[in-house]
């Protein structure tokens, strides 16, 4: 233990001080200490809560989940308990257990985002992640992350009523990542997080022994699900997205998308991330985030790094 203490794995995301760069991604870790069954949640940098809306949402109909070879499609539709239940029931648990956290919020209109931000401010929430990019709800957040003008308006209005760390979460479903990221920075974002899930569809065509028939009958059974793709298959998209925006913004970037081992984490640092989030891989290895923290400590010790900043600097891919 004593030689661990010398290592400085901390990272600052604007005003938010994290003891290490390992976070868990929204929607994959619950609201508070749910994963205490599998690890010490207090040991990681921070958890990001499930996306929270003004009013509780019941989400999309089933099917909501489809496992693919190297990824997962989900169509949860932002089912969540709503901000008021969160403040009443989950916030005290987070604070009592000394868990660092970031609240992920989603609205259907700028007004709703502003209202959510005000509630966060009045409860002195240290950090908010704006989900502008959820592919699973019909109205709302997805479009905010795409159009620069509305994005600017949204982020700056939220900025005006929220003084603590404001993170804008982006999707890779855009034509010009760097423009979107720059817009968020100009509007007052303290950090960018990326990427959210990628719009995707799964179809299964089952052909009966009797073959296909032009008249629709039971010869072919179609099963399909549309939703957001996550997991290791999106890692190349995520790395590229972060690499592209890193050159255009100076605020910290929190990278995610398919991280499932220590090597993955280093790759995200290499392309420009300052911290990372573990998402879908929590389902496979519920203690992965904690394991990454100890692997990071071991690695730094082995390689004689005293601070994470030095390690990240050495890893950075030169543009």
């Amino acid at each position: 233990m004593s030689n661990l203490i010398k290592l400085d794995t901390s990272v600052n995301i604007s005003k938010l001080k994290l003891k290490n760069p390992v976070l868990t991604a929204s929607g994959t870790f619950g609201y508070a200490n749910e994963y205490d069954d599998f690890m010490n949640v207090g040991n990681i940098g921070a958890i990001v809560t499930k996306g929270i809306t003004l009013n509780p949402r019941t989400g999309n109909p089933q099917p909501r989940i489809k496992e693919l070879k190297n990824g997962l499609i989900n169509s949860i539709g932002l089912e969540n308990i709503g901000i008021h239940n969160f403040i009443e029931k989950k916030l005290p648990v987070l604070r009592e257990n000394n868990i660092n956290f970031i609240i992920n919020i989603a609205g259907e209109s700028i007004k709703e985002y502003v209202e959510l931000a005000k509630i966060c401010q009045s409860n002195n929430i240290e950090a908010v992640e704006l989900n502008l990019s959820c592919p699973n709800v019909k109205s709302g957040c997805l479009e905010f992350g795409k159009d620069e003008e509305t994005l600017y308006k949204l982020v700056s209005e939220v900025r005006n009523c929220f003084n603590n760390t404001l993170i804008v979460k982006l999707s890779s479903n855009v034509s010009f990542p760097e423009k979107i990221a720059k817009t968020a920075e100009n509007a007052g974002a303290d950090a960018i997080s990326a990427i959210n899930t990628v719009k995707a569809m799964h179809v299964e065509v089952k052909i009966a022994a009797s073959g296909l028939s032009p008249a629709r009958n039971d010869n072919a059974i179609f099963e399909y699900i549309k939703g957001g793709l996550s997991g290791s298959c999106i890692k190349p998209l995520a790395l590229n997205f972060i690499y592209e925006i890193r050159q255009h913004v100076s605020i910290p970037i929190i990278g995610m998308g398919g991280i499932s081992c220590f090597q993955d984490m280093l790759e995200f640092f290499a392309v420009g991330a300052d911290a990372i989030q573990v998402g879908t891989a929590n389902f496979t290895h519920p203690d992965l985030s904690e394991a990454l923290v100890s692997e990071l400590n071991n690695f730094m010790k082995q390689q004689n790094y005293e601070s994470l900043a030095e390690l990240v600097k050495d890893l950075r891919y030169e543009y």
Binding site: E34, Y35, D37, N40, R64, I76
Partner: protein, 289 residues
């Protein structure tokens, strides 16, 4: 603080495989060594196993516990269960659990119905009832005879089943009881579609008769949804409460992703509940089938 003591109790546990036995063409029984799970699992709870080359873990009901070991009964469906069937004594597996809420055990004369591989949690429940002396009858329905328990792997099992064919509420052959560790006072009814053991036919050919004969105060069941729905509807006519153990594809299996929700009728309002965390056991009359 209390929470700190509870950290990590659900794994991941690296557990040792003690045996992996084929019970029928596509159904197997795996026995693992792990004290924590064996000591804490309740009937109806499940464990979730990491399978080679698969992103998501696979959930399986705990089918029994004995000393420091626990077992699962699984049917081969796809990659995950094929991987399980490749495990051999001495291998290890990465398991989390026990997860979810088990059956509510009451001291009421009970009818336990396991359909297909749904016998897994029902088998465990039946053992607990046997140990605690709760009066119960165990009905096991399958397409063909399943030699799933110690007692049924005895020589001449099928011949014995044939003997009770056509009779219901036949007390479990005493020898079978003797070969099981637990003191049992249950009755065991086997129904197979092809008549290869016990009563021939499907559950709906026999359920009314069984209920009239056994007069249970409570029913517990696990199996395919249509079977459970039929049991709940039949039990409703007799005003018997039913507990059902449900299934659905899980992503997290731990209550965080909201991937497994079903609609439940609670006090006349319809709400979403997570099968993995709020269940998998629910009151039959609250499920919107």
């Amino acid at each position: 603080m209390q929470l700190k003591i509870q950290n990590k109790i659900k794994g991941p546990h690296i557990v040792e495989v003690l045996s992996n036995i084929k019970l029928s063409d596509d159904t197997w029984k795996l026995t693992f060594q792990n004290q924590t799970i064996a000591k804490t699992a309740k009937p109806g709870q499940f464990i979730s196993i990491l399978c080679e080359d698969l992103l998501l873990r696979r959930p399986f009901s705990v089918a029994n516990v004995k000393d420091d070991t626990f077992e699962i009964i699984y049917k081969i469906k796809g990659k995950g269960t094929k991987y399980l069937s490749s495990l051999q004594s001495g291998d290890s597996a990465d398991v989390i659990g026990p997860l979810g809420n088990g059956f509510n055990i009451e001291n009421k004369s009970s009818l336990l119905i396991g359909c297909g591989v749904g016998i897994a949690p029902i088998n465990f429940l039946s053992d607990i009832f046997g140990k605690t002396g709760v009066k119960h009858t165990f009905v096991e329905c399958s397409q063909i005879a399943l030699c799933h328990c110690e007692r049924s792997r005895e020589p001449n099992f099928l011949t014995k089943c044939q003997k009770i064919r056509g009779t219901i509420h036949q007390p479990l052959i005493n020898k079978w009881i003797a070969s099981s560790q637990a003191p049992r006072n249950d009755n065991h009814i086997i129904i197979t579609e092809d008549g290869s053991a016990g009563l021939e036919g499907r559950l709906d050919d026999h359920l009314e008769n069984i209920i009239n004969e056994v007069k249970p105060e409570k029913i517990y069941t696990c199996g395919p949804n249509p079977a459970m729905k039929y049991i709940v509807q039949t039990a409703e006519k007799h005003k018997i409460p039913v507990e059902v153990a449900l299934e659905r594809d899980f992503a997290c299996g731990t209550g965080v992703c909201m991937g497994c929700v079903i609609q439940i009728k609670e006090n006349d309002t319809i709400i979403n509940k997570r099968i993995c965390k709020d269940g998998p056991v629910f009151k039959g009359n609250e499920v919107l089938w």
